[in-house]
Symmetry: C2
């Protein structure tokens, strides 16, 4: 089947999903969870084949760990689907409404997009997560996973579709797009059939989709996040936030990548920071002024400033002012999450107003910028673009709206 | 100056605009209005040159009328800018906010996009309208007008920039992009410098921008709008709505293009409809069943169904059921505004739920789908896409949001 044919089937399924009531969708999610658990053996066998292929290809241990499924991880996917069933349904929400002077009533109501395409890498649990979020928000989904997880994804999608059929929802609500690399191009060209594409993965994947897709894209992910320690910062607070943002989970997009310290407090703050970073196992890539505080600091490069480490590495520099910190952030930020630690109301206000990012934090860890931490219950990703959704995307962000205009024969004068 | 250089200047200006308070922006709008009136003679001379060129090129009277400026039209532009000053400022609005269990406060706040590009055809008044809407919403704007209005647009932008300077706002908040056709390509490639592109014009222009742009696009405009007269419709209401939607202003995107009549009421409704349409000067392009009611009906073609007339022409067909009407609309609709006239609650509910469009109307004219009629005060266009904004776009739709997260040293556990 071509991508076009799959997209047409998805459109057809989306018509049913679009007017499905919440209880029908929730029953579908429960049924998909049951089906995943029932298919555990088949899914684990398929996953073992993927893992074997990856090992034969010499894939690194970290990637293999992300690829590998266990009974626990399958149970986790099922739990995720059941948790979605407990969340409110965004579809049908009246965003706003009013009555015009002539008595015409206008309501803006949330409706599903229709067909969503997800292009993602490695981790097969994304298959179930994304399918669940799309179903709950009334969207049919086309899943384009990585070839390294092809067998796992196929087994998971077969189970999810069986669950949908069991709940009398269209199986084509969830489809995997198999095939070679070119197929991704066909998906990106399916304007009019696919309503939105969401790439989830590394910077390279996202750049490709963003520049090549004719289908509208929601850009997620890359987080080159900064922490600016202002001259009025509480040092204990700054160190606690720095260590949490850098070391609690270095591989994620809301982790800290660059530390900027105001020159006035460098003498007192940087030695303490270096000690805490060393204890947390962090390698510091510092500018000359930063390096003057410790032998363990390696020289920072332009690339260190410009890209995410996603590891226990941290770029660091001493800046002469808030203005210099703002200029550095303006130059290198990917617009994800930027933090200031300060006791100055004026400095906090300027930072919040002038930093152009999905999230700006004052005296809190950037690790809080997350759908779960925000209480969204589910998250499809963190948008770093300005259109449609910016920051953590929950269920409402997976919908569009429609104006419903009701009258009694009114016409325009 | 290259497009890239202009975009960099716009970015710089957008930093000032982004934190400009409402009273500063409103003063800028008043000052721009004053400057337009002061430059009346210069603008009219420039416009006369454009009109002469268009006449020499054999341009049709309708287009020349759209191109032509008069003292009244210039006063209209100035009034439009002053009206914007009276509207609330969307920037700074708190969309939602909450406090997490750990005391971390989260607020989602409206912020400007940054730099907006507008690509538009013919009418020079769009230059002032778009500049005003962008300024009020805190965005710098790059205006790419049509070459036929080059002199008019240049004179208008010169005046607007003088007004900005007078109000001590950055002149580069409003820039015209001159030059040959290729320049539009440079604008569409300026991803990262331009935050959003909005094409305003015919279907061809919009298709080009939507398929070629690497900058995110908000699609506006084409409206292939249908009116379905259900079997339970009040005939007087249906005729009033039909004539208003078709004939009040046929050249606009929310005008009616195709009439569908339920077979059960065709005998009683169609003859009355044909009489009313004839009185309004409308040419009816009907299918065989529709044509059987009157000699004046010309045969409808596939193109008549598929494209906007934007004139006193109307495609028309008799359908056997609500299902057939929905299928016709699904096939040909551009997703702008679709109307049902019915007294049946069930039919209205199905129509509202199943029609996939920016606006769905029950017993009211599609001419109401308009920022002015919706009470938005200003409108940059009517979005027919599902991402970010759908339907009439006012000032809030010209903004993005930012999460502001405030703590007292909290870290993630």
């Amino acid at each position: 089947m071509t991508v076009r044919e799959q997209a047409l089937r998805a459109r057809e399924a989306s018509r049913t999903l679009g007017s499905a009531i919440r209880s029908a969708k929730d029953a579908g999610l429960q049924s998909m969870a049951d089906a995943l658990l029932k298919a555990e053996t088949v899914i684990l066998e398929a996953n073992a084949a993927d893992v074997r292929r990856a090992e034969d290809a010499g894939t690194g241990a970290a990637l293999i760990d992300r690829l590998r499924l266990t009974p626990d991880r399958i149970a986790g996917m099922a739990d995720g689907l059941r948790a979605l069933a407990d969340l409110p349904d965004p579809v049908g929400d009246v965003v706003r409404g009013w009555t015009n002077p002539n008595g015409v009533q206008v309501r803006q109501v949330r409706v599903p997009f229709g067909v969503v395409g997800i292009i993602y890498e490695a981790r097969p649990n994304v298959t179930a997560d994304a399918a669940g979020i799309c179903l709950k928000s009334g969207n049919a989904v086309l899943l384009r996973g990585s070839s390294s997880a092809a067998d796992s994804n196929a087994a998971i999608v077969t189970a999810l579709r069986a669950g949908l059929a069991e709940a009398e929802l269209p199986e084509d609500s969830v489809q995997l797009i198999p095939g070679p690399r070119e197929v991704t191009g066909e998906l990106m060209a399916a304007r009019g059939l696919v309503d939105v594409l969401i790439p989830r993965g590394g910077a390279g994947l996202i750049e490709t989709v963003v520049t090549q897709s004719q289908v509208p894209v929601i850009e997620t992910g890359t987080g080159n996040c900064h922490l600016y320690v202002d001259r009025s910062a509480d040092h204990d607070q700054a160190i606690r936030i720095m260590i949490n943002a850098k070391a609690q989970r270095p591989s994620v997009c809301n982790a800290l990548e660059t530390l900027l310290v105001h020159a006035d407090v460098a003498d007192s703050f940087v030695p303490k920071a270096l000690q805490a970073l060393a204890e947390a196992g962090v390698t510091v890539h510092g500018d000359d002024r930063f390096a003057s505080y410790g032998d363990q600091v390696v020289p920072v490069t332009e690339t260190d400033y410009a890209e995410e480490f996603l590891s226990l590495d941290l770029a660091a520099a001493v800046v002469d002012s808030l203005d210099d910190a703002l200029a550095h952030i303006r130059r290198y930020s990917s617009g994800h999450s930027e933090t200031i630690v300060t006791d100055s109301q004026a400095a906090a206000n300027r930072f919040v107003a002038e930093v152009d990012a999905a999230a700006v934090l004052v005296n809190a860890s950037s690790r809080f910028v997350d759908g779960g931490e925000f209480g969204f219950g589910a998250e499809i990703g963190i948008s770093t673009q300005k259109l449609h959704a910016r920051g953590p995307m929950g269920l409402p962000e997976m919908t569009s709206t429609k104006y419903v205009v009701t009258g009694a024969g009114q016409v325009r004068g």
